[in-house]
C-alpha cells in the first residue's frame, strides 16, 4: 500500500515536469506565432531591421550574432576543454584528479553575472587598448562564453574518455604505440560520440547565455563585420527590451524566444541522438 502511494507521488512529480515544459512550449508558440505570421516569415527571419515599435521585426542580425558568438566560443573553448579532459583522464595522477575535477566543475557554478562583470572590468579595456574598437565586442563575448562552457565540455568529455574500454588502450600500447599515440589514434576516436555530445551541450549553453553576453557584447543591432564589432544576440534582445515592451513589441520578443527555443531544442535532440548511438 505504502509502496503504491510513493510510486504514485513520484509519477505525479514526473508528469508535472513534463507538464511545465508542455505549458512553456504552448505559451511561447501561442504568443510568438501571430506576430511572425503578421510580419511574414521571410521578413522576420531574413531582414536585419529591428524596430518593433515602428513595425519592423527583422531578427537576422540577432540570429547571425547568436551563431557567431556561439561559434567563436566553440573555436576557443573546445581545444582548451579537450586538453583539460585528456589531461585529467589520462595523464593526471589519481590523487590530483580528485582535487582538479571538482575544481573545474566549480567553474560551472559561478554565476554568469560574475563572468560578465569580470569581462567588463578586465577583458573589455584590454581589447579596446590593444586591438581597437569599442571593446564591447563579438570577441569579448566569445572569450567569456568559451570560459563558461569549459566545465560542461570538460566533464562530459572526461566521462566519455573514461568510458572507453581499457582493452583498447592496452591493445594500442601492446602494438607499440606511445601513450600519446594511443590517446590520439585510439581513445579519442572511440570516445568521439561522447565528445561531440559534450560540444553540442556546450553550444546549447553558449547560445542560451544571456547576462554575461549583455554585459560584454555591446548590443548593437548591426550585422557584425569583424571580431571587434559589437553584437546583439537573441537572448540579449529579449532581456534588454522586455521591461518596456507592449503589444506587438512584446509578442515579437516571444517570437525571438521561439526561434531560440527551436535552436536549443534541435541541439538537445542532436545531443541525445548521438548519446544513444554510443
Amino acid at each position: 500500500m505504502k509502496e503504491k502511494i510513493i510510486e504514485k507521488i513520484l509519477t505525479l512529480l514526473a508528469f508535472s515536469a513534463i507538464g511545465v515544459l508542455l505549458l512553456i512550449t504552448v505559451f511561447i508558440f501561442k504568443e510568438g506565432l501571430p506576430v511572425i505570421l503578421k510580419a511574414g516569415i521571410k521578413d522576420f527571419l531574413f531582414s536585419a531591421k529591428w524596430a518593433p515599435t515602428k513595425g519592423h521585426f527583422g531578427i537576422l542580425a540577432m540570429i547571425i550574432s547568436s551563431l557567431a558568438v556561439t561559434f567563436g566560443s566553440i573555436v576557443m573553448g573546445v581545444p582548451l576543454a579537450l586538453a583539460c579532459a585528456v589531461t585529467l583522464a589520462e595523464f593526471c595522477p589519481p590523487r590530483l584528479l580528485v582535487f582538479l575535477k571538482p575544481t573545474i566543475e566549480l567553474l560551472a557554478g559561478i554565476p554568469s553575472v560574475v563572468f560578465g562583470f569580470l569581462g567588463v572590468i578586465l577583458l573589455v579595456p584590454i581589447i579596446r587598448e590593444y586591438l581597437g574598437g569599442p571593446g564591447l565586442s563579438l570577441l569579448a563575448a566569445s572569450i567569456i562564453l568559451a570560459i563558461m562552457i569549459l566545465p560542461t565540455i570538460t566533464s562530459i568529455s572526461i566521462d566519455a574518455i573514461q568510458a572507453v574500454p581499457l582493452l583498447y588502450k592496452e591493445g594500442a600500447l601492446a602494438m607499440g604505440a606511445t601513450h600519446w599515440q594511443a590517446i590520439w589514434l585510439v581513445i579519442l576516436p572511440a570516445a568521439r560520440s561522447g565528445v561531440v555530445t559534450a560540444i553540442i551541450l556546450g553550444m546549447a549553453r553558449a547560445i542560451g547565455e544571456t547576462m554575461a553576453v549583455i554585459m560584454v557584447a555591446g548590443n548593437a543591432l548591426k550585422i557584425p563585420s569583424s571580431l571587434l564589432d559589437p553584437v546583439r544576440t537573441l537572448t540579449s534582445t529579449i532581456a534588454l527590451e522586455m521591461g518596456y515592451s507592449a503589444g506587438d513589441h512584446r509578442t515579437a520578443l516571444f517570437a525571438a524566444g521561439m526561434i531560440l527555443f527551436i535552436f536549443i531544442m534541435a541541439l538537445t535532440i542532436l545531443a541525445n541522438l548521438l548519446m544513444r548511438k554510443k
Binding site: 504514485k8 509519477t11 505525479l12 508528469f15 508535472s16 507538464g19 511545465v20 508542455l22 505549458l23 505559451f27 529591428w50 524596430a51 518593433p52 515599435t53 542580425a61 567588463v120 573589455v124 579595456p125 579596446r128 569599442p134 571593446g135 564591447l136 549583455i214 555591446g218 548590443n219 548593437a220 543591432l221 548591426k222 559589437p230 546583439r232 532581456a239 534588454l240 527590451e241 521591461g243 518596456y244 515592451s245 507592449a246 513589441h249
Partner: protein, 268 residues
C-alpha cells in the same frame, strides 16, 4: 495501473491549465489605476507606494504602456489617471494636463574628454552615424562610440523626438538597458558618448553643455536647457474624487519633495 497513471497525468495537466488561466483581476472597494509613460512609471510607483501607506484602504495600480497608450486609457476611462513624458498633441485638448515635474536629459562623456559643449546638430550627426571622429568636435582623431538606450525606453523616445527629429539613430550604436549601465560604459571609455536622465548624473561622468547651456536645476526648470521633457498627469475633464486627491498629493510639498529626492526637478 497504466490507466491510473494516465488519469493522474491528465488531472495534473488540467490543474496546471486551470492555474495558468485563472483570472488576475482583483476588485477592491477603493482602487485607482494609473497608466502610461514608462519613464514616469517608477516615479508614479514611488508616489503611489507612499500614498498607499497614508491611505491603507486604497489600492493604486501603476501600469506602463507608453505615453500615447496612457492618454488613450485615460480618455477611454480604463485608467483614472494617464501619464505622459511628452507634451499633449492639439487633438488631445479635451483632457486636463497637469505637469508634475520636469526631467532633463544629460549628454555625458568621460571626465577626461576635453569637449565641453555640443550643439543639437552635432549630437544628431553623431547618433545618426555621420560624425564619426572626435576631431570634428575639436579633439583628437579617434572614433566616437555612441551609446543608445533599448527600443521602447521612454528616455530614448524623448531623445529621439528632441534631438533626432525625423532622423533615425544608427544601428551601429551600442545599446544598454538602463541609465545606470549607460553611465558605466561612458565612465570606462574615454571615446564614448551617451545620454541619461539628469537625476542619474554623478561624478563618474561629465555632462556636456548643449547649445552652450549647462544642465542644472535652474536651466531645466526654466526650459533654457533644450533637452528637457515634462512629466505629465492627464485627467479627464471630470476626474474622480480619488484621482483628484492623488494629484493634490503629488503637487503638495510632500509629493514634490519625493520627486526631487528621486532626481526630478519639481514643478511647484
Amino acid at each position: 495501473m497504466r490507466f491510473n497513471q494516465f488519469r493522474l497525468g491528465v488531472t495534473l495537466f488540467l490543474c496546471l491549465m486551470a492555474l495558468s488561466c485563472s483570472s488576475k483581476n482583483f476588485t477592491h472597494s477603493q482602487a485607482l489605476t494609473i497608466a502610461g509613460s514608462t519613464s514616469v512609471q517608477p516615479f508614479a510607483e514611488k508616489l503611489a507606494e507612499i500614498y498607499m501607506d497614508i491611505n491603507p484602504k486604497l489600492i493604486i495600480n501603476v501600469q506602463g504602456g507608453g505615453s500615447t497608450a496612457g492618454i488613450k486609457a485615460c480618455r477611454e476611462k480604463v485608467a483614472q489617471i494617464g501619464t505622459s513624458s511628452r507634451e499633449l498633441h492639439p487633438n488631445e485638448g479635451d483632457l486636463t494636463k497637469i505637469i508634475i515635474a520636469k526631467d532633463g536629459i544629460a549628454v555625458i562623456v568621460h571626465p577626461q574628454n576635453p569637449v565641453n559643449d555640443i550643439s543639437i546638430e552635432q549630437l544628431r550627426g553623431i547618433f545618426s552615424g555621420k560624425i564619426r571622429s572626435w576631431s570634428r568636435l575639436g579633439w583628437v582623431d579617434k572614433p566616437i562610440y555612441f551609446v543608445n538606450r533599448e527600443e521602447g525606453s521612454g528616455t530614448r523616445d524623448a531623445f529621439e523626438s528632441l534631438v533626432m527629429k525625423k532622423g533615425e539613430i544608427s544601428d551601429e550604436a551600442l545599446v544598454q538597458d538602463s541609465n545606470g549601465s549607460v553611465r558605466e560604459i561612458i565612465a570606462n571609455n574615454p571615446q564614448a558618448i551617451g545620454y541619461i536622465s539628469f537625476g542619474i548624473l554623478n561624478h563618474q561622468v561629465k555632462a556636456l553643455a548643449v547649445n552652450s547651456v549647462i544642465p542644472n536645476l535652474t536651466t531645466i526648470k526654466n526650459n533654457q536647457y533644450t533637452l528637457t521633457r515634462p512629466f505629465i498627469f492627464v485627467l479627464p475633464s471630470q476626474p474622480t474624487p480619488l484621482a483628484s486627491q492623488f494629484v493634490d498629493f503629488v503637487l503638495s510639498q510632500e509629493g514634490q519633495q519625493i520627486l526631487e529626492k528621486e532626481g526630478l526637478v519639481g514643478f511647484q
